[in-house]
Amino acid sequence: MFRLLLRRLLALVPLLFLVSVLTFSFTAMLPSDPVDLILGDTGTTEQHDMLRERMGLNDPVVVRYARWLGNAVQGDLGTSFFNSVDVTRAVMQRMPVTLSLTAVAALIAIATGIAAGVAAALYPRSWIDRLATIGATFGQAVPNFWFGLILVAIFAVNLHWFPATGFTPISQSPWDWLRSVTLPAVALGLSSSAAIARQVRSAMVGVLQMDYIRAARAQGLSARRVILRHALTNAMVPVIAVLSFQITVLLGGALIVEQVFAINGLGTLAITAVRQQDIPMIQGLVLVMVGMVVLVQLATDILYGLLNPKARPS
């Protein structure tokens, strides 16, 4: 297990490197001049040149990249062009918000998706199967932010069960955190839940036709045990890849859903940064998000190894 982990971690290095090159070169192509952005129309030509020199913008692009990467590796993502905010600090401040929203949405999506998929596979063509299939088809067509608006209209504006906007950190009050995160997480999780349900159903249907399921039944193990232990464990193997992808989707979706609920997460930060052409902020955000995605992939890889003995190095 340890060697598997190490190998996966090492495999991530070139990927992260490539992402950093892509991010840097892309943002380096941005049409606006950072110095103009910072000083605006004020300042003399000398001041412009001085700032340009101080920011190292006259250096060749390779040198600038190396400097940026060197700092990034040490946790320093630079300073925003606006208000001189430290990028690392700004991102780290917002990250728990987006992460907890994504995590709760992922939990909801995985739990409901697997339950619906298993139920549909167990009773093919029953009303449960039809309901799950129709629900999954609809779920994938509903925009998450629209679902969020509708949830707000019903459960916040009309029923007052949940706050309509805002986010309470879990450290401040777990109960208020749960109340503030529920609606956005449900809105965000719907389409992933649908995608997972479809995958689980299809994988379960395949596994339930395998010999070892019949052999386990022949040995007198109960239907419940065979389905929940023997079938589900094997059905989860192909589902893992979908889970990993869906968590990436959720992380992206969170950026938009945050806007519905006026949550100050990475989404708001990213949108502001793009509007302002705040290069260090955009670079930092992309790098941090890829870091999170990569960690999720690592976790699902390990899970894959645990569920599928054939994938383990012997």
Partner: protein, 635 residues
């Protein structure tokens, strides 16, 4: 999967429902296209004309869908939104195809460094959440519909690139492409003539997926203000407006939301239908077992000896049939009676389709979906299993009867160690503790002749050879000391050298545990080796039953004779092996009379009436010419 599932409809939805859904989806998309084209003429108001006196009104006769915060007509804006949606979907999808497909074809065909570098870049892009990629590209290009669609086009081109590359990689090694290359066809000609036809079907499926995703993404980007810019109307910007007035007029969110959902749903459903027809569809389930029908009691059985004390299994007049939902029954086993006692091995021999495996499965109550016992009795140690409730039958399985399957590598669960699979049975069936169970597991694995049992118990099925896996399966089957063991072709999937060892193991274990064995095989040589008595099945019927020595010395049914003469040892070797002409008729196509009649050299008019199974002293035969063959053998 080795066994065929009898009923496996390809599509989930009934054809009628499927046609209706497809029709509706196409109709909706057509309406959308018409609205998009004719928006200038059919909208009741100018979508941009403000009227602050009538802001945020609900639906009325003047404004069917109400007005927004600036008093603009929601219906008119919605219709103009159709135009944006069509433009967005067409633009982004076209860019994605034009960018992704040629690049994918190129790197797939070229291979080498081009391929390696491009694929690493694609991997890197895919590891960033899609919406973030779009946002970064928009940062570069600036906000607005067309720029946002270029961003989405670049984003979605990765999936077209991978698709095109995958098809090329698969196809370039195909024989016809290689031979085209040999005869000197140019690369571009090969691409156009041979690869394009194969890429078209998955491409169409991918287009529907992409159109759906583009519509949702465009709405999302416009919603956060990076797509279509106000005051222009798109469904996403309309929702952005609605979001600000949820407490004043929540209805504003409904029309654009429903428009998005209905459109995306239509595209997705159309994609599903296309995917099903292209053959990349998800696996569909066989329908759940129809409601259990009542089993009719057996007719009085004359061919079996009276029950004795050491009798373990007694099957009386068993009939099983395929019972489709609302269809007519097709029998697959008819009027089968047999019995076996402690320490005896009864062989069930026949070609595939004779019903021998189904007989074994019906004892366990594990016939597949759609197959049911319709008549008869299956008595195990005196209890009729057909009268038991599912829970009670579960108790019987494992404890009193167990089964060893044909392919040991698929009958063991790949996710668990072999030891834990045996231990699980011991713990759930016999209530042993973890430690007790493990001790017994090691003992059992040692008993079935596997060296270093403690180490092997911790192995996964894929780490064992076929012969060793089958020994494990046997150990699991015997773990609760059942009185009946059903072995379904347990040596067929193994190497010839291993077969003999497994047969010897069965014999040894039977001497030690004393269970009865129902041994299912198509191989008479194997049956001769292990069985005490042999029952020959043909087309769902028993045609002959005899002690093994008598059957080989004096086969009486023409089918048995045919089987024997087709055995390699029986023939002298010089002339080619004789075969039985024709093949086993399929269930539902059985003749009324002797089911072997159309393949039999002795066929007469008398054979066209149903033939009863007759005989005594444990010799049974179903043939009108039985007496004649008996005399022939005697003379």
């Amino acid at each position: 999967m080795t066994q065929a599932t009898p009923l496996r409809p390809r599509k989930l939805r009934r054809p009628g429902a499927s046609g209706l859904i497809t029709g509706t989806a196409i109709l909706i998309l057509l309406v959308l296209a018409v609205l998009a084209l004719a928006a200038d003429w059919i909208t009741p108001y100018d979508p941009l004309r403000q009227n602050l006196m009538h802001a945020l009104q609900g639906p009325s006769a003047n404004h069917w869908l109400g007005t927004d915060d600036l008093g603009r007509d929601v219906l008119s804006r919605l219709i103009y939104g159709c135009r944006i949606a069509v433009i967005a979907a067409a633009e982004a999808t076209a860019i994605a195809i034009l960018l992704g497909v040629p690049l994918g074809l190129f790197i797939g065909y070229r291979g080498g460094w081009w391929d390696w570098i491009t694929m690493r870049v694609v991997e890197a892009v895919v590891s960033i959440p899609g919406i973030m990629v779009a946002i970064v590209i928009i940062a570069l290009l600036g906000a607005g519909l067309h720029r946002a669609m270029i961003a989405l086009g670049i984003l979605f081109s990765t999936s077209f690139l991978r698709l095109a590359r995958g098809v090329v990689l698969a196809e370039r090694e195909e024989v016809y492409v290689r031979s085209a290359r040999v005869i000197g066809a140019s690369d571009s000609r090969i691409l156009v003539r041979h690869i394009f036809p194969n890429i078209a079907p998955p491409l169409i499926v991918q287009v529907t997926l992409t159109v759906g995703a583009v519509l949702l993404s465009e709405a999302g980007l416009s919603f956060i203000g990076l797509g279509v810019q106000p005051p222009h109307a798109s469904w996403g910007t309309m929702l952005n407006t609605a979001a600000n007035y949820m407490d004043l007029n929540w209805f504003l969110a409904v029309p654009p939301g429903v428009a998005i959902i209905v459109t995306v749903l239509s595209v997705n459903l159309l994609g599903d239908v296309i995917r099903d027809n292209v053959g990349r569809g998800i696996a569909t389930a066989p329908s759940a077992a129809a409601r259990r029908r009542k089993v009719r009691p057996a007719e009085p059985v004359t061919v079996l000896p009276a029950p004795t004390e050491d009798e373990v299994l007694r099957i009386e007049g068993l009939t099983a049939a395929i019972v489709p939902e609302g269809g007519t029954e097709t029998p697959i086993i008819t009027d089968l009676s047999l019995s076996t006692k402690r320490g005896e091995t009864l062989g069930l021999v026949g070609e595939s389709g004779s019903g021998k495996t189904l007989t074994g499965l019906s004892v366990l109550g594990l016939l597949g979906a759609g197959v049911q016992v319709t008549q008869g009795a299956i008595k195990l140690n005196g209890t009729d299993l057909l009268t038991l409730k599912p829970r009670e039958l579960e108790q019987v399985r494992g404890n009193q009867v167990a089964m060893v399957f044909q392919d040991p590598t698929t009958s063991l669960n790949p996710a668990f160690t072999v030891g834990s699979q045996i231990a699980e049975v011991l713990r759930t069936k016999q209530g042993l503790t973890k430690a007790e169970a493990w001790e017994k597991v090691v003992e059992l694995i040692h008993r079935v002749g596997i060296p270093r049992p403690e180490e092997r118990a911790r192995a996964y099925p894929h780490e064992l050879s076929g012969g060793m896996a089958q020994r494990i399966a046997i150990a699991r089957a015997l773990s609760c000391n059942p009185s009946l063991l059903i072995a379904d072709e347990p040596t067929t999937a193994l190497d010839v050298t291993v077969q003999q060892e497994i047969l010897d193991l069965f014999r040894d274990l039977q001497d030690e545990y004393g269970m009865a064995i129902l041994f299912v095989t198509h191989d008479l040589a194997v049956a001769a080796d292990i069985c005490d008595r042999i029952s020959v099945l043909y087309a769902g019927q028993m045609v002959e039953m005899a002690p093994v020595a008598e059957l080989f010395a004096d086969p009486r049914h023409p089918y048995t004779r045919g089987l024997l003469s087709a055995m390699p040892h029986a023939a002298s070797g010089e002339p080619p092996l004789p075969t039985i002409r024709g093949s086993v008729p399929r269930p539902g196509a059985w003749p009324v009379g002797c089911r072997f009649g159309n393949r039999c050299d002795f066929h007469t008019a008398a054979c066209d009436h149903p033939v009863p199974l007759e005989g005594q002293n444990g010799r049974l035969i179903r043939c009108v010419h039985a007496e004649r063959f008996k005399l022939e053998a005697a003379s």
